[in-house]
C-alpha cells in the first residue's frame, strides 16, 4: 500500500465521524433553512421557500438586535481580556517569586464549567444577598442591580466572561513570551534601545501570530456564548443579555421555528467565516510555508 493510501486509511475513522456528524447536520440545516417548517403544527410538509427565511431573518428586529448585542459583547469582552491578559503576562513574566504557583492558580477559572460558575456569579451579583453589593455598601457606594438593570446586565456578563477567559490569554501569552529567542533582545540591549521601542518593534511583532490566534479563538467563542446566559439571566432583563446563540435557542427550540433558526445560524456562520478569514489568511500562509520546509 502506498504511503498516500496508508495515510488515507489512518485518517478515515476520524473523517467518517466528522463527515457523518459534522457535515450531515450542516446539510440538514441548509435544507431546513430553505423550507418552511413549522413544528408546532405537526405537519410533515416542508415546502420549499427559497430564500424567504433569510429575508425574514435579515428583517427581524430581534435577530438584528441579538447580532448587534453579541457583536458588542464580543468586541468589549475580547478587548478587555486581551489587554488584561497580555499586561498580566508581562507582569508575571518578570516576577521574582512564586511564579509557578501563581501561574497554576490562574488556571482555575478556565477549568470551571461556565454553566456552573455562571450560577455562582448570579449569586454574587444578587441585589440583596450578593457579595458584590455588600462590598459596595461597605465602601459607601450605591449598590447596583447587576443582572436586573437592562443597562448594566450585559456588562455584568462581560465581567464574568473576562474573569473566566483572561487567564487563557494570560497563559498563552506568558508561554509565548518565555519562548521568544534571546538574541534579538540582547542585540537591542547592546544598541541601548529604550524599553518602549523594544516592545513596539521587537516583542509585539514576534508575538503577533500567537496574539492573532488567541484573538480569533476568543472572538469566535465569545460570539457563541450560551452557557452562562442559559443558567443565569435567560436573556433578560427583556432582551438585554440575549446573545445570538440564546436567541436561536429561543426561536428554534422554544418557538419551534427551526427553519428561521437554521437560516439565522447560516447567516452567523457566514459572518464568522468572513471575519476570521481576514485574520486567518496571513496566518495560514505562514503555516503552509512552515509545513513544507520542515522536512
Amino acid at each position: 500500500m502506498s504511503d498516500g493510501a496508508y495515510g488515507m486509511l489512518l485518517v478515515s475513522p476520524a473523517i467518517v465521524i466528522l463527515l457523518f456528524f459534522g457535515v450531515f447536520p450542516l446539510i440538514y440545516a441548509i435544507n431546513l433553512s430553505l423550507r418552511h417548517v413549522d413544528m408546532t403544527t405537526g405537519s410533515n410538509v416542508w415546502n420549499f421557500v427559497g430564500l424567504d427565511n433569510f429575508r425574514y431573518a435579515l428583517s427581524d428586529k430581534a435577530f438584528i438586535g441579538a447580532l448587534i448585542r453579541t457583536g458588542l459583547f464580543a468586541v468589549i469582552s475580547v478587548g478587555v481580556q486581551m489587554s488584561l491578559g497580555i499586561s498580566l503576562a508581562f507582569l508575571i513574566n518578570r516576577l521574582k517569586w512564586f511564579k509557578g504557583i501563581i501561574r497554576a492558580l490562574f488556571l482555575l477559572p478556565i477549568a470551571a464549567a461556565p454553566a456552573a460558575v455562571g450560577m455562582i456569579w448570579r449569586y454574587l451579583y444578587d441585589s440583596e444577598f450578593g457579595v458584590f453589593n455588600a462590598a459596595l455598601k461597605v465602601l459607601n457606594i450605591q449598590p447596583l442591580n447587576w443582572l436586573g438593570n437592562k443597562n448594566i446586565a450585559l456588562f455584568s456578563i462581560i465581567i464574568f466572561d473576562v474573569w473566566q477567559w483572561t487567564p487563557f490569554v494570560l497563559m498563552i501569552t506568558l508561554a509565548a513570551l518565555q519562548s521568544l529567542p534571546r538574541e534579538p533582545f540582547e542585540a537591542a540591549a547592546l544598541d541601548a534601545a529604550s524599553n518602549f521601542r523594544v516592545l513596539r518593534k521587537l516583542t509585539f511583532p514576534l508575538l503577533s501570530p500567537v496574539l492573532t490566534l488567541i484573538f480569533i479563538l476568543r472572538s469566535i467563542d465569545a460570539a457563541r456564548l450560551y452557557d452562562p446566559i442559559a443558567t443565569t439571566t435567560r436573556g433578560g432583563p427583556g432582551a438585554a443579555t440575549e446573545t445570538v446563540t440564546f436567541f436561536l435557542y429561543r426561536i428554534g427550540l422554544k418557538q419551534f421555528r427551526m427553519d428561521h433558526a437554521s437560516a439565522m445560524s447560516l447567516i452567523i456562520l457566514f459572518i464568522i467565516i468572513v471575519f476570521s478569514g481576514f485574520l486567518l489568511r496571513p496566518l495560514l500562509k505562514r503555516q503552509g510555508e512552515k509545513a513544507r520546509t520542515k522536512y
Binding site: 495515510g7 488515507m8 489512518l10 485518517v11 475513522p13 476520524a14 473523517i15 466528522l18 456528524f21 459534522g22 450531515f24 447536520p25 450542516l26 440538514y28 440545516a29 518578570r94 521574582k96 517569586w97 501563581i102 501561574r103 497554576a104 492558580l105 488556571l107 482555575l108 477559572p109 477549568a111 470551571a112 464549567a113 456552573a116 460558575v117 450560577m119 455562582i120 456569579w121 449569586y123 444577598f129 457579595v131 455588600a134 455598601k137 474573569w163 498563552i172 508561554a175 509565548a176 500567537v210 469566535i220 450560551y226 452557557d227 442559559a230 445570538v244 446563540t245 436561536l248 428554534g252 427550540l253 433558526a261 437554521s262 445560524s265 456562520l269 467565516i273 486567518l280 495560514l284 509545513a291
Partner: protein, 285 residues
C-alpha cells in the same frame, strides 16, 4: 553570582498580581464556602464569613437530586468520548503530520468546525439520535435520546477537530529519522507508529486527552437539550436547583462545587501539561 536587588517595581508587580489573583479565585472560594454554609446564613444581606459548616446541602444533592447518578454519567461520557477522540484523532493527526493529507487546509477546516453556532447542529443531532435510538442496534449501543452513547458521540465530534490540530504539532516534532531506521529494520508502518512514535508523542497525547476530558465535563448546551434524566450530566444538574420555588442556593453551591472542584483539582495537578498543551497549539501553530 551577585544577589539581585529587590526593587520597588518588584513589590509593586507582585502586589498587582496578587490582587488580581485574589479577584480571580474569589468566586470559586465563595462557591465552596456557600456549599457548606447553613441555609439561614446564605440569604443574609451582609455575607457571613465565619460559621459552623454543614454538609446538609451535599446530602440534599446526593439524596434528593440523584447527584451520584449525574456524576457517573458525566464520568462515563467524558472518559468514553476522550478515549475515542484520542484513538481516532492520533491516527488522523499522525497521517496529517507525516503524509501531509490535505496540504495545510487542515487548520482552516478545523477552525471552521468550531464556527457553527451550536443551535443549528442540535436539531439535526436530535433527529439523528431519535431515529437511531429507536433501532435495535442503537438501543444496544446506548444511542438515542437521553442515553449516554449519544453524548459520547456528540463530544467526540466536538473535540476531534481540536484534538487533531493539537496532536499534529506534537507529531510533527518527532524526528523522522527514528521512524526511518525502524522501517529499515523491517517494522511495518503500523508497528512503527505504535512502538516508536506513540511513546514519544505520549505527552502530547496526554495533554490532548486532558483537554477533551475538560471540555466534555464542562459542556452544557448539548447535554441539556439531548438528555433528561437517564443520561443527565452534572453540569446540567447544577441548573436543576433553579426551581419554580426559587433558587436553592445551598444545594446549588454544593452541586456547583461537585461539578467544578474535580476539574480544578485536575487542572492544578496537571497544570504543567495543560499549559504545554495550550501553548503548543498556539505558539507552535
Amino acid at each position: 553570582m551577585r544577589p539581585e536587588k529587590v526593587t520597588h517595581m518588584d513589590i509593586l508587580r507582585m502586589s498587582i498580581v496578587i490582587g488580581v489573583l485574589i479577584f480571580t479565585l474569589f468566586p470559586i472560594f465563595w462557591m465552596i464556602l456557600t456549599s457548606v454554609k447553613p441555609t439561614e446564613l446564605i440569604l443574609r444581606t451582609s455575607p457571613i464569613l465565619f460559621f459552623k459548616p454543614t454538609l446538609e446541602h451535599f446530602k440534599y444533592a446526593f439524596e434528593q437530586a440523584s447527584f451520584a447518578h449525574y456524576i457517573s454519567n458525566t464520568l462515563i461520557v467524558s472518559l468514553g468520548s476522550t478515549i475515542i477522540v484520542v484513538i481516532t484523532g492520533s491516527l488522523a493527526s499522525y497521517a496529517f503530520a507525516r503524509y501531509n493529507i490535505g496540504q495545510g487546509n487542515l487548520m482552516f477546516f478545523i477552525l471552521t468546525t468550531r464556527m457553527m453556532p451550536a443551535i443549528a447542529v442540535v436539531l439535526p443531532f436530535f433527529v439523528i439520535f431519535r431515529t437511531v435510538g429507536q433501532s435495535g442496534i442503537g438501543q444496544f449501543l446506548q444511542l438515542g435520546l437521553d442515553r449516554v452513547g449519544t453524548l459520547i458521540i456528540c463530544y467526540t465530534v466536538f473535540n476531534l477537530p481540536f484534538a487533531i490540530w493539537l496532536m499534529h504539532s506534537f507529531f510533527q516534532d518527532i524526528p523522522t529519522e527514528l521512524e526511518d531506521s525502524a522501517r529499515l529494520d523491517g517494522y511495518t508502518r503500523f508497528k512503527v507508529f505504535v512502538k516508536v512514535v506513540l511513546p514519544l508523542a505520549a505527552p502530547g497525547i496526554a495533554v490532548t486527552a486532558i483537554f477533551c476530558l475538560l471540555f466534555s465535563w464542562n459542556e452544557f448546551l448539548f447535554a441539556s437539550v439531548l438528555t433528561r434524566d437517564v443520561a443527565r450530566t452534572i453540569t446540567v444538574g447544577v441548573g436543576d436547583f433553579w426551581t419554580l420555588r426559587g433558587i436553592l442556593w445551598g444545594p446549588l453551591s454544593a452541586a456547583a462545587t461537585v461539578c467544578v472542584l474535580p476539574m480544578i483539582a485536575f487542572a492544578l495537578v496537571l497544570q504543567r501539561w495543560i499549559v504545554r498543551g495550550l501553548t503548543f497549539g498556539a505558539v507552535r501553530g
